[in-house]
Symmetry: none
Subunit: 258 residues, 2 copies
DNA sequence: ATATTTCTTGCAAAATATTCCAAAATGTTT
DNA sequence: AAACATTTTGGAATATTTTGCAAGAAATAT
C-alpha cells in the first residue's frame, strides 16, 4: 500500500477514535510499527494529529473524551437525546452560552441549524463550530485546563461578566432539592458568571446525576428555569422539581437518525 | 486497446477508489506495469490525478478534510526548519506570545520542552497543547474567524493589552525595508497589541515573503528585534536588515541537533 | 529506585521509479 | 500486399524511495 493512502487511513481512523496506539494502527494497516511511526511523524508535520507517547491523538478532538472509552459510550445515547431535546428549547438567532462538559457539548451539536450566536469556554465546542461556519462563536479567554479542554481563570470569568445572553445551557455534577453542585471547584466561579449573564438558565443532567451531591455547591434551584434529562430520571424527584416551579423536560428514548 | 481508452479507464477506476497501486491497475487493464506508469504520467500532466510512490491518487479527493489553518502544506519543510530555529531563541520558562498563522504554529510545536507559558489567539496552537501539562496555555478570548481558527475582535485585543510577555513570535504576509505588512486587516490591531505586550519581538517569514508587500501595513522595522527565515531568503535584503541593527537568523536546511 | 515500554537512529533488504532499448503494433506510402 | 516510418509496448539495468529490524536512549510505569 502506498504511503499517502496509508496516511489517509490513519487520519480517518483517528477521526473516529481520537487516539490510537501504534500497535493498533500497525495491526489494522498490516505494516510494521516503524512504518506507522514514520507515517504519523509525517502527519504531525501536516498538522492533522499529534504524536504522543504510545500512539497518536487528534489535534482538534470533536469531543473532550476519548470516544473509544467504554465508560463514555455508556451514557452516550442518553446525552445525545438530551442534546436534541434541549436544542428544541432554543429559538433561532438567539445568543446562547454553552457550558463546558460533555452534556452541554451534545446540545451545541444540535444547534447548528438555528444560526445561533454562541458564547462558550469549551474548546471542543469551539472546534466544532470553527469547522462548520454556521454560527458566530465567541470563545472566552482563559488558561486551558488540560484534561477537560476548558478555559478557566480570571480572563474566562471576566468574559462572562461583560456579556448578556438569552439562554445559558449548563451541565454539572449533581442535582438535589438543595440545589446543584459540581465536582470541579475551578469551574464554579465561571458557571456563576454564566448564570448571571443569561436571561434563561437551562441545566442538562443525564439521569445518573439526580440525587447526587458533588463536592462544591454551585447554586440553589431558584436560579434555574429549566432542567433537561433523559427517561431514566427518578419520577419522584422530577415531581418535586416541578412542584418548585421548574420546567422539567424529559428527552424521549427513541432516536430517529442513529 | 488504445492508450486513450485505457487512460480513461484508469481515471474512472480512480474516481471510485481514490487510491490505486500500479500493480492493481496493470492487473485490471491487462497491460504491463510500464505501460500503466506511462499512462498515469500522461494523466498527471493532464491534471486528473497525482502520481505517488506505489501508485496514483485522485487529485481532488471527494472527502478531503476541512481546510484548517494548520493544514497548509505550502513551504512545509521551510516552515518546520524555521520553527526549530526560532524555538532555540526562546529560553526555558518564558512567557511567549504566539501569533496566529502557520509559521508561528510550527514554532509552537517545538516549544513544549521549554516549559513555556504560551499566550495565543490561535485555535490550532491551543489544540496542540490542549492535552499536555508541560506548557501553560492561555487563550485570548474573541470571536472565531472561521477558516483560520483565529480569535479576533475586541475581546482578543483586550486580552493582549492586559498582559506582558518575554517574547512574541509573530508571522505576517510580507516584509520589505519599509516594514512589515499583513493581508488580513482584522488581525492588524491584535498583532499590534501583541507587539506592545512583548519585551522581545521575533518575526518568522518563510523566504517567499521577503520583498513582498501585503495590503495592510503592520509596523515598521524599528519594532522588531529578530527575524527568522529559511535558507532561501535573498542575501541582499538580509544584509540590509542586519545593517538596520536587526538580528536575522537563517534556519539550516538539514535537520541536525545543533 | 528498577523494570518495562516506547522512541530514535542507522542500516540493509525490498519495493518502486527512471532511463534506455529492442520488439511489437500501428499507420503511411507505393 | 509489401516496404518503410512512427508510435507504443514490455522489459532490463540502474537509481531512488520505502520498509522492517536492531541496538542504544528516553520516557513511563511499578
Amino acid at each position: 500500500m502506498q504511503p499517502e493512502a496509508r496516511q489517509k487511513r490513519i487520519q480517518d481512523h483517528l477521526n473516529r477514535v481520537e487516539f490510537a496506539s501504534l500497535e493498533e494502527l500497525a495491526r489494522e494497516l498490516e505494516v510494521s510499527v516503524s512504518t506507522v511511526r514514520r507515517d504519523i511523524a509525517a502527519l504531525e508535520s501536516a498538522g492533522g494529529l499529534r504524536r504522543m507517547h504510545g500512539g497518536a491523538r487528534l489535534v482538534n478532538p470533536p469531543s473532550d473524551e476519548f470516544a473509544f472509552s467504554a465508560r463514555d459510550t455508556h451514557q452516550l445515547t442518553e446525552k445525545e437525546a438530551i442534546g436534541r431535546a434541549c436544542a428544541e428549547l432554543i429559538g433561532p438567532n438567539q445568543t446562547v452560552i454553552i457550558d463546558a462538559g460533555t452534556t452541554a457539548y451534545h446540545v451545541a451539536k444540535n444547534l447548528e441549524s438555528k444560526m445561533p450566536q454562541i458564547i462558550t469556554n469549551s474548546l471542543p465546542v469551539a472546534n466544532f463550530f470553527a469547522a462548520t461556519n454556521r454560527a458566530e462563536l465567541i470563545l472566552s479567554g482563559g488558561v486551558i485546563y488540560p484534561r477537560l479542554g476548558v478555559l478557566v481563570g480570571p480572563l474566562a470569568v471576566e468574559a462572562f461578566t461583560k456579556i448578556h445572553a438569552d439562554v445559558a445551557v449548563m451541565s454539572a455534577g449533581g442535582i438535589t432539592l438543595d440545589g446543584i453542585s459540581n465536582s470541579h471547584g475551578l469551574l464554579i466561579e465561571i458557571q456563576w458568571a454564566m448564570i448571571r449573564a443569561a436571561k434563561k438558565v437551562i441545566f442538562c443532567f443525564d439521569s445518573t446525576k439526580f440525587g447526587r451531591r458533588s463536592v462544591s455547591p454551585l447554586c440553589g434551584l431558584e436560579h434555574v428555569h429549566t432542567i433537561v434529562s433523559d427517561w431514566g430520571a427518578p419520577e419522584e424527584l422530577v415531581r418535586s422539581l416541578r412542584g418548585r416551579g421548574l420546567e422539567v423536560v424529559i428527552a424521549p428514548q427513541e432516536s430517529d437518525g442513529s
